[in-house]
């Protein structure tokens, strides 16, 4: 004989679920003695349904909270003169299994100490997935069920156990206990009142059990935002979060309270950043609002805590075992990271398959094309990793290429300096300062902004523990492997775009290796042209992102836009010419697209993403180019990064992929060009090959336009850097050659005649020679400028003195009277990477030039005084010093001869102390604003290009 049970059903716009709930209630094996129905201002037929089913319904206004509704139900019972032992709480979206109540009551009979019992909650309508088996709360306020995501109910948790709390949907609670604890806390109108109640009950010495045998199906309508009530509004997350924080703050022990206050406050801020990073702005704001709403009303918290203290009979330690373990939040953090990686991988799923799938959905197209499983794939099914590796020639080849690439890059292991790489600053902080400063105490002081790659290098250096040399070493050592990886990814997708089966892996390996070696065989690697090297590494990644513009899904096209923006900005930072090329290519491609599909003009999601990618790059790089134009250093927009002079190149070099006088044998370079031309032969793949050639034409056109420009820098005329275009041309040739090969392979059975096959074999042999010779040259070659170190012809004690402050400058005069003198001013730790370009672009200081001319011809004490005023402490004529100039300076008053280690280096100290304010310059509010704009733009773009991780957002 069961004790008396009154079911308490609260409904609010639950018409969708109520009929099933009523049916479930009626079908209970154990009899429900009374049913109290409460409706909180439903706008649908909920109240009527309840009235029809249970005779009477208490109608309350729409703003009634759940605790208030339950309290009203209890009052109703008392008013009706009923005194049931148990109250069974049901929501309008929780449908009890017929045996639910009986199982709960049985458990109650078996465990007389239990005052609250909860059923196993399963998902409605899928019915099999577990939702809750009792809940607890983590230290960070997360509602913890102890279940895996989407775990299926297979009876794995079926044991009765004590828990902190059970959901109010299906909760069976002793009326006496419910009333003695004052019901649910009205501060928690919708969410979290069950947790708070459970915690209070536990503190008051009551036991809460979960009874898995009892099953209730729950739609979680409010939690999922399916049902919007006037209480939750649109901000369910706000309510949930506020409830969690409230629960923790009012129930935790006195001693841990201060810690909790700080932890939850900071934690919420962190969560807010996290939400922003996954583009959940609304939830971030909810998070903030929840904290603010609670922390701004401490009185409510104090009052609530005081009420609870009255009820407590059990020590807080005894409740602790019911709470979630302390490590749990960190495991969730790991899970989240895992999610991110998974989402990123998912995002990178290739555009080729999605296009095909989209095409298959079009009416009139037959079955979707299924990618045939190749021989390589078949092996993957059931062999171990080692076996798969050893039996795959491609894997062994790849490993060999990587090992050889690392061997070839051995010079870079000890740190890279020389050629285009000026000496590196001490740590990444110097790069940060260079990037953030508006006025540099370099030369005679300059407002020319730092080149844009300084930010990228500063970030990389900081990630590597602040080491600048590590940043450059990573770039140079991993140039080939990273380029290979990027090229492989890109070429694999290209291969699948061309044919459903994709390109064979050996072809991918050959092509990707050829491309990855472009920066090396061109001579850019050996000459320390780190800009070209970085651009070559990044280009295939950018190209891969840009393939996303062809995605059938507009959302993915926009994602691709942001990713392309970021990568293009990075490439442009290293080789500014890249943006002009991208602009040209974008115009050509968009024009061609509109010529072919005129309707595309109207669809903003077609032309919008590429246009955004192009136009957002200047925003990301705005603290560089705008101040550069203002500082009369616009030449930097076309210059190659790295120390001047940069190696020039000509038509032959661009076609063969060689910087002038550098790199591997030129003849090998022409082989690739020949292959790219031959690739136009197979008709099957001619159109994609033509696309590659369009890219080549645009690159060649850009090069032709740039070649007409001569940039007049103070240190002499220079030509715009064409290294990036060289990489693009070679990249286009590689892709064309690969696609052409695919086309030939598809028709290889047609080649009946022996002669044709022989010719093909010959071409293949020559093609293989390109990466092989390149790699061999890389490994064997040792003729490069890396590791040669910078000029160390300034006496060490002067360098030490110059570290004292920017005004302790050293005027270095090189050359001789006969062929002309050049001067530079060295300050601080010398001219380091990044600073070299700032100085090269700084407009000439005519007054200083005049002073130096006077100093080297007819020096007077007045000129020497002028030097002191301009922050020059030493004058140095590095070996071989011009004897006439040295003799003249020796005879000048105000200059004191200084010693130098090298006897043929001549040095003088300016007798007057340098003016400490000589290098002070104006700040630039504009640049500060632009830096802020860049920072915000970077974060926004980074957030926008992050893959979609929020499961609630992704469509089922």
């Amino acid at each position: 004989m069961h004790a008396s049970v009154a079911a308490l059903v609260v409904s609010h716009d639950g018409e969708r679920w109520l009929p099933a709930v009523i049916e479930g209630l009626r079908a209970q094996h154990a009899a429900v003695d009374h049913v109290v129905a409460i409706d909180t201002g439903s706008k649908d037929a909920s109240a009527q349904l309840l009235e029809d089913a249970f005779g009477s319904v208490t109608r309350l206004p729409g703003l009634t909270s759940y605790p208030a509704a339950v309290a009203a139900g209890l009052d109703q019972l008392s008013a009706d003169g009923l005194d049931p032992e148990w109250i069974w709480l049901l929501h309008d979206d929780s449908n009890p299994d017929p045996g639910a109540l009986a199982a709960l009551l049985d458990a109650a009979a078996d465990h007389p100490e239990a005052d609250t019992l909860g059923p196993k909650l399963r998902e409605w309508p899928s019915l099999r997935r577990l939702l809750e088996l009792g809940v607890t709360i983590t230290g960070t306020g997360r509602r913890e069920t102890g279940l895996e995501r989407g775990e299926y109910d297979q009876g794995q948790h079926d044991e009765i156990r004590a828990v902190l709390a059970v959901n109010t949907a299906g909760m069976l609670v002793r009326r006496r206990v419910l009333q003695s604890l004052g019901g649910f806390d009205p501060q928690l109108p919708i969410f979290g009142n069950d947790l708070d109640f459970g915690w209070r009950a536990a503190a008051a010495g009551h036991t809460t059990l979960i009874v898995p045998e009892a099953v209730v199906f729950h739609a979680e309508a409010a939690h999922r935002g399916v049902r919007r009530t006037s209480l939750t509004g649109r901000h369910t997350h706000y309510q949930e979060r506020r409830a969690a924080l409230y629960t923790l703050l009012v129930n935790s022990g006195v001693r841990s309270l201060p810690f909790q206050l700080v932890r939850l406050g900071l934690g919420s801020l962190l969560r807010m950043v996290g939400f922003l990073l996954v583009r959940s702005v609304g939830e971030a704001l909810d998070e903030l609002a929840a904290v603010v709403s609670l922390y701004s009303r401490p009185r409510e918290l104090v009052a609530a805590r005081r009420r609870r203290q009255g009820e407590q009979v059990v020590d807080a330690q005894q409740v602790k075992h019911l709470l979630a373990p302390a490590w749990l939040p960190y495991r969730h953090g790991l899970d989240f990271l895992g999610d991110l990686v998974a989402a990123a991988t998912n995002q990178a799923q290739d555009v080729a398959e999605r296009r095909r799938a989209a095409a298959a959905e079009q009416p009139g197209v037959a079955a979707p094309v299924v990618r045939p499983v190749g021989d390589d794939d078949a092996l993957e099914e059931d062999s171990g990793l080692v076996a798969r590796f050893l039996t795959s020639p491609v894997a062994i080849g790849l490993a060999l290429v990587l090992v050889l690439a690392l061997v070839g890059a051995r010079t870079a292991f000890g740190g890279v300096v020389g050629g285009g790489i000026s000496p590196l600053p001490e740590d990444a902080g110097d790069w940060w300062r260079l990037h953030l400063e508006s006025w540099h105490a370099l030369g005679m002081g300059t407002a020319v902004p730092a080149p844009p790659y300084v930010l990228a290098l500063a970030l990389l250096g900081t990630l590597l523990g602040g080491s600048t040399s590590a940043a450059l070493t990573v770039l140079f050592v991993l140039a080939v492997p990273l380029g290979l990886w990027g090229a492989w990814r890109f070429l694999r997708v290209v291969g699948r775009l061309v044919s459903p089966s994709g390109a064979p892996r050996w072809l991918l390996l050959g092509s990707a290796t050829t491309y990855a070696l472009v920066p090396v065989v061109s001579g850019a690697w050996g000459a320390g042209r780190f800009g070209v090297v970085a651009a070559a590494v990044l280009l295939p990644w950018f190209a891969h992102a840009a393939l996303g513009f062809a995605d059938p899904d507009p959302d993915r096209r926009w994602r691709a836009a942001w990713r392309s923006t970021l990568l293009l900005a990075l490439v442009t930072a290293f080789t500014p010419v890249a943006w002009f090329f991208a602009l040209g290519l974008g115009l050509v491609v968009v024009a061609a697209a509109f010529a072919i599909v005129p309707g595309a003009v109207r669809d903003r999601s077609v032309w919008g993403p590429p246009a955004t990618a192009l136009l957002a790059v200047p925003v990301l790089l705005v603290p560089w180019w705008w101040p550069a134009l203002l500082a009369d250093a616009g030449a930097g927009l076309l210059l190659e990064s790295g120390a001047l002079p940069s190696p020039a190149t000509d038509a032959t070099g661009l076609l063969a992929g060689r910087l002038a006088g550098l790199g591997a044998p030129v003849a090998v370079g022409f082989v690739l060009l020949g292959l790219a031309v031959l690739a136009l032969a197979p008709r099957l793949t001619r159109i994609p090959v033509l696309v590659c050639w369009i890219v080549a034409v645009v690159a060649a056109g850009t090069a032709a336009v740039l070649a007409t420009i001569t940039l007049d820098l103070p240190a002499g005329p220079v030509v715009p850097g064409l290294g990036f275009l060289l990489v693009v041309l070679q990249g286009a040739f590689v892709v064309a050659a690969m696609i052409g090969t695919q086309g030939i392979l598809a028709r290889v059975t047609w080649l009946r005649t022996l002669a044709l096959r022989g010719a093909l074999g010959l071409v293949a042999a020559v093609a293989v020679a390109v990466p092989a010779v390149g790699l061999g040259w890389f490994v064997a070659g040792d003729d490069h400028a890396l590791g040669t170190g910078g000029r160390a012809d300034i006496p060490a004690y002067m360098v030490q003195s110059s570290m004292l402050g920017p005004e302790h400058g050293i005027l270095v005069i090189r050359g001789d009277v006969e062929s002309g003198l050049t001067y530079t001013v060295r300050r601080g730790d010398g001219v380091t990477l990044g600073e070299d370009e700032v100085l090269a672009l700084t407009p000439a200081d005519d007054a200083l030039t005049r002073d130096v001319r006077t100093l080297t011809s007819r020096p007077t004490p007045a000129v020497v005084e002028e030097l002191a005023d301009r922050g020059i402490e030493y004058v140095v004529l590095p070996a071989p010093a011009d004897g006439d100039v040295a003799a003249a300076l020796d005879a000048t008053g105000g200059l004191v001869q200084a010693s130098a280690e090298n006897r043929s280096t001549r040095a003088w100290q300016v007798a007057t102390a340098p003016d400490p304010e000589a290098l002070d310059g104006p700040g630039s509010p504009l640049r500060v604003v632009l830096l802020v704009v860049q920072g915000i733009a970077l974060v926004v773009v980074a957030v926008l290009c992050a893959p979609t991780t929020n499961r609630r957002r992704s469509r089922p």
Binding site: R683, A703, V817, G820, V852, A891
Partner: protein, 463 residues
């Protein structure tokens, strides 16, 4: 970047194929055509020669007098109408001396080195020299030079030399003297980093510093400040005759073609000294210059000079015979740069013929009175030389034009009273020396005067 849809390709029919074929030909051609517009950049910075400005300040250093013989210092101005006052500073004190054009005024220089400074208009025209009478000796007053070579100095009992380093400035100066000997470069710590305090001089008697027999060569490089270096060469017959002294002119830098003028006729020994500072052996050939030709006398052999060392060759046989009869000079051509001096001991007096610098415009030299000839050689083209001579009091004694031809020398007799000798060269360049014979022999090489200051082209350098 957009990529074509593979699906659409198959539907495009025949005409599309034609388009692709056209494009397949056109695009590569377009690419190559566009790239051909990319011309290799002329990244060479054009040469930036210095600007010439009138010399506004000059400083000449006349070496100290030969032992005992005080001699005299004469100053003159070569410019028409450029007179002025030269400031003199010797070890005993300083003074001033008026300098008048075309007149060789005698100044009281004392026995020590004399620093003569002139400014403004006088600066480009100031010339000076120190003479010794018995036996005849001559040393031009020269500006300081960053580097100078003295070939054929001695450090022994018979033949010894004194190196004099004069610092005309107030600040300290430092000279690095490299000593070459027959067996290579000698390690002489006393000659490395010789400090010369401001406004003073240092005399180094090589016989005391590096006592040794054989010929030496000195390379004097100014490491700090300004230094004028000179060498006084002495020959002591050790009882067999009187001691004779003569200043040894310096040579600016080693050269593969050395024209040595000023070989006195008559009996006596003649010693050729060659220095090869290079790292490879130099092979030098000797030719005699006379008014008709430049020729190799019979039996003259090629001289091999080991790397980094000095080679002494006693001139004998047919070559000596030709020289005794009065050749103009000697042409020494070597496979790598060498320095060369012929030391003659004729009539008991020492004289030197040192590889002389080329005169391209004009040069003036002050010479002592006596029988004298102007020797010219090494013309690189057919040209004309105008020779003018004045007496010490400013009277023009002669003015004659002489043709120059490559491959032969010229010999111009000058009046005995000539003290100021000027050559003006047109359409050619030439090496010139005045050979004076009186009580002994002196050779005065003609050195082009520095008339202009050089203002280097200054530009910001690459950082």
């Amino acid at each position: 970047m957009s990529t074509p849809t593979p699906g659409r390709r198959s539907s495009s029919g025949g005409p599309a194929l034609d388009t692709t074929t056209v494009l397949a030909v056109l695009l590569p051609l377009l690419t190559i055509a566009a790239l051909l517009l990319v011309r290799p950049a002329a990244d060479e910075r054009p040469a930036r020669p210095p600007e010439l400005t009138p010399l506004s300040r000059v400083l000449l250093v006349c070496p100290g007098a030969a032992d005992g013989a005080a001699g005299e210092v004469r100053l003159s101005s070569t410019g028409q109408g450029t007179r002025g006052t030269a400031r003199l500073r010797s070890e005993t004190g300083s003074g001033r001396s008026p300098v008048r054009p075309r007149r060789a005024s005698v100044v009281d220089g004392g026995a020590g080195p004399l620093v003569v400074a002139a400014e403004d208009a006088l600066a480009p025209h100031l010339v000076g020299a120190r003479f010794a009478e018995r036996p005849l000796a001559h040393a031009a007053c020269r500006p300081s030079a960053p580097e100078v070579w003295f070939t054929g100095v001695g450090a022994g009992a018979r033949h010894s030399s004194v190196l004099e380093l004069v610092n005309p400035d107030a600040g300290p100066a430092l000279a690095d003297v490299t000593t070459y000997g027959g067996g290579g470069v000698l390690d002489v710590p006393q000659l490395r980093g010789v400090a010369v305090p401001g406004r003073s001089s240092v005399r180094l008697d090589l016989a005391a510093v590096v006592p040794r027999r054989g010929e030496l060569a000195l390379r004097v490089v100014t490491a700090r400040g300004r230094i004028a270096a000179s060498v006084l060469d002495r020959y002591d017959a050790l009882g067999a005759g009187p001691t004779t002294a003569e200043w040894l002119p310096g040579q600016g830098e080693p050269s593969t073609a050395n024209t040595l003028l000023g070989l006195p006729a008559g009996s006596g020994q003649r010693m050729l000294v060659l220095t090869n500072p290079g790292e490879d052996e130099a092979r030098a050939s000797l030719r005699v210059i006379d008014e008709e030709s430049v020729f190799t006398p019979q039996g003259t052999r090629e001289i091999r000079v080991p790397p980094g060392s000095v080679k002494r060759v006693k001139l004998t046989g047919e070559l000596l015979a030709v020289l005794r009869e009065g050749a103009l000079g000697l042409q020494v051509d070597a496979t790598s740069p060498v320095t060369a001096t012929v030391r003659s001991l004729t009539g008991g007096d020492l004289s030197h013929a040192v590889a002389g610098p080329t005169v391209t415009e004009s040069a003036t030299v002050l010479v002592p009175e006596g029988d004298k000839r102007l020797l010219l050689a090494g013309a690189d083209a057919v040209g004309v030389v105008t020779v003018t001579a004045w007496s010490a009091s400013g009277k023009r004694l002669t003015r004659q034009r002489t043709e120059l031809q490559p491959g032969r020398g010229a010999d111009v007799s000058l009046p005995e009273g000539a003290v100021i000798v000027t050559v003006e060269v047109e359409r050619s360049s030439v090496v010139a020396s005045v050979l004076v014979a009186g009580r002994g022999v002196a050779v005065a090489p003609m050195v082009e005067q520095v008339r202009n200051g050089l203002v280097a082209d200054v530009a910001p350098g690459l950082p």
